[in-house]
């Protein structure tokens, strides 16, 4: 009887040992958290963004990019509500995340102090330059909205024919929209050869006739937008109806419309149809209507995980992949350096992404460079314009000159 009990106990021990050993053989699991608007306001951007991140981490785990180690990234919908984002973030901390992926400008600004206290690196989908003020842990994946708008203004200054170009800004009535205005003003004060005639804060307008006619009466030729697609769609449709839209860049007596990252992409074409023709858009992401090695990989990833064509073609899908790529690369570098994968070391790895160690994801138009004093990732921005219903590249990716002067 005694020997039977002994054998049973031994068997249990063997099974437990075998189970423990098998877990260890499976490698380490690195926990990450992401909170974003999969539903609710701006979910047209957040939804494909989440899909991009989810797919890339699945790809990393399935193709063993980190060897036997895996990434476990929990993605939760916050419906664009900062209180929900904060709750998600706190729960992720309890779960022991080593890096956090955030979304909106409001929640990034709202949780800035929490990120500092927790000393955790954060990649945000908001490219608001103000995110970086008084912060050491927020990293912008690409150049800020300020860089984007100043870059567009520089393009206007360089390519406008006949005197000083008259420009109006069309912005969202929030920190997200207003943020870059002062930087454009500073660039103009620093010698950027445009005249900033007016800054328009839009509402939920059904008709922009009065605004457009007013801009025309002030001889404005360029409208640069920093908002989301929907108000831009209404504005350019009104402009088309009134016959005010330029058929080519800078056409005299007409309006050329331009905009930052979240104003453009296929969503704008979906909303405004042929009124988007000749719309100029700036971003740091490769887009599938300009095929290349990066977009081929993006489309292959989307196909691998059964995404529909609309998601696969979305620049927000690319943006979601990109933050997952940067996070994965930081983990890979920490492992390669023989460091423990934790908050502090990932922060260190991100800050080391510069010079020869800059990281080039396939989703962007330039390399990601971070340092202790520069937490904006991709500096090289690409201008696209709609030609025959799709966005096409205009020239090569460029970095803003005046942002360097005014920083």
């Amino acid at each position: 009887m005694k020997s039977k009990s002994f054998l049973t106990a031994l068997l249990i021990l063997v099974v437990m040992f075998a189970f423990t050993a098998s877990v260890n053989a499976g490698g380490k699991v690195y926990k990450l958290g992401m909170s974003l608007a999969i539903t609710g306001p701006t979910s047209d951007a957040g939804n494909p963004y989440a899909k991009g991140t989810e797919d890339y981490f699945k790809f990393v785990n399935e193709t063993k990019i980190l060897g036997d180690d895996t990434i476990d990234c929990t993605i939760r919908d916050d419906q664009y509500k900062t209180d929900v984002t904060k709750r998600n973030f706190e729960e992720y901390l309890d779960d022991g995340i080593v890096m956090y992926l955030n979304y909106s400008t409001g929640s990034t600004l709202g949780l800035k102090r929490d990120f500092e206290e927790e000393e955790i690196a954060v990649l945000s989908a908001s490219y608001h330059a103000g995110n970086l003020d008084d912060s050491n842990y927020i990293f912008l994946p690409i150049a800020s909205y300020s860089d984007q708008l100043v870059n567009l203004a520089e393009y206007v200054a360089k390519n406008h024919k006949g005197g000083k170009a008259k420009v109006a800004l069309f912005v969202h009535p929030s920190a997200f929209g207003r943020g870059p205005v002062s930087d454009v003003e500073k660039a103009v004060a620093a010698g950027l050869n445009i005249e900033l005639v007016e800054v328009v804060e839009h509402g939920k307008d059904l008709d922009n006739t009065a605004m457009l006619k007013r801009l025309m009466s002030k001889n404005v030729q360029y409208v640069i937008s920093q908002t989301i697609q929907s108000p831009v769609a209404t504005m350019i449709k009104d402009s088309q109806r009134l016959g005010l839209t330029a058929s080519s860049f800078g056409e005299a007596g007409k309006l050329t419309f331009m905009g930052a990252h979240y104003t453009g992409g296929n969503d704008l074409i979906a909303l405004a149809g042929n009124a988007t023709e000749n719309y100029f858009w700036i971003t740091a992401f490769n887009i599938t209507s300009v095929p290349g090695e990066g977009t081929t990989k993006q489309l292959a990833l989307a196909k691998l995980f059964g995404r529909d064509q609309k998601a696969a073609d979305s620049h927000n899908y690319a943006a979601g992949i990109m933050v997952a790529q940067v996070a994965t690369e930081a983990i890979r570098r920490a492992k390669a350096a023989g460091l423990e994968v934790n908050k502090a070391n990932l922060y260190k790895m991100l800050n080391g992404m510069n010079g020869a160690n800059a990281y080039s994801p396939y989703t962007t138009t330039g390399p990601v460079t971070y340092s202790k004093t520069d937490r904006m990732g991709v500096d090289m921005l690409q201008i696209y314009s709609v030609q025959n219903g799709v966005f096409r590249a205009v020239g090569e990716p460029v970095e803003s000159e005046y942002m360097k002067k005014i920083k």
Binding site: D44, T234, L271, A272
Partner: protein, 297 residues
């Protein structure tokens, strides 16, 4: 001078669409004294149904438009029957809370479809060249929107004034218990009010969606955007909604046209309607056409 008239035309167009979007709120309030916070979701649903029928099924857009109004008519009637009928006689605030919950449920249902987080636009079905006269232009979408608005509002005004059911609805609006005592079916009236609100919401959704593109957040926001219209108009007055809608549309356009860009001002079109609303309510607390009820004890 054409600038001035263009702003007048734009203001009337925008105001008419506001009036149409507000009509459903007025109808529900008129019959049941309830502010429907799920109205924006019904506006969006109407637009998406029209889009789905037109693009996915291939129904001509005019018939899709009619079909969506019929579908939302029955959809809103069903919603009233399932969720709200059991609350007849309960405190108004309870019913209002249910409409807020209902809005969340409809949000959730729409987010389960691609319409929740993707953008679309109706295929072009009207001439793209605007109608112009003396430097004043109006698009076909806007013109058709205004015509539909006035047909619907005219029809409903006639319905409330002349038809037996319409008069029953007005009676229920005045006093539910007195109406029941004379044999009017209050549940039926409530159902019909919701159904008509659904029908008008679908029409508004299609017109707004054709102007802004089909984005759920943009569309359902109009359920809230038009609240100042019904407050200014007097909550339960169809004529009030029309007049207030046009007033607010004109204020927005004139503010945008003459104030914005001067003296450092911007975005006044969003603020001025509220300022005017406060001023009007200061002198007429029940709105321009609202009924001031006096109860004698």
């Amino acid at each position: 001078m054409s600038y001035f008239f263009q702003i007048v035309v734009s203001g009337i167009v925008v105001g008419s669409i506001y009036a149409l979007a507000a009509l459903g709120l007025v109808l529900v309030y008129k019959s049941s004294r309830v502010a429907n916070f799920a109205h924006g979701q019904i506006i969006a649903a109407g637009a998406f149904i029209t889009y789905y029928l037109t693009v996915s099924i291939g129904v001509p857009v005019f018939f899709s438009f009619l079909a969506s109004m019929i579908i939302t008519f029955f959809l809103a009637m069903s919603v009233e029957k399932i969720f709200l009928r059991r609350l007849i006689g309960e405190p108004i605030i309870s019913v209002i809370m249910v409409t807020i919950g209902l809005g969340s449920i409809l949000d959730g249902l729409i987010y389960l479809t691609p319409f929740g987080s993707e953008n679309f636009s109706f295929p072009v079905f009207l001439p793209q060249q605007p109608l112009s006269l003396g430097g004043v232009s109006i698009s076909w979408t806007q013109l058709v929107g205004v015509i539909i608005t006035f047909i619907l509002i005219g029809g409903l005004s006639w319905f409330f004034k002349k038809s037996t059911i319409g008069i029953s609805m007005r009676a229920v609006s005045d006093d539910q218990f007195a109406s029941m005592s004379v044999g009017i079916s209050v549940p039926r009236v409530f159902g019909l009010a919701w159904a008509l609100a659904g029908l008008s919401a679908a029409a508004a959704g299609c017109i707004i969606g054709n102007i802004t593109g089909l984005n759920f957040d943009t569309l359902h926001a109009f359920g809230i955007v038009v609240f100042p219209v019904i407050i200014l108009g007097g909550l339960d007055s169809i004529l009030g909604a029309v007049v207030a809608g046009i007033i607010i549309g004109l204020i927005q356009q004139f503010s945008s046209g003459y104030l914005d860009g001067n003296w450092g001002l911007s975005g006044t079109g969003e603020v001025m309607p509220y300022i005017i609303l406060v001023v009007v309510l200061f002198f007429k607390p029940h709105g321009l056409f609202g009924i001031h009820e006096i109860e004698r004890v």
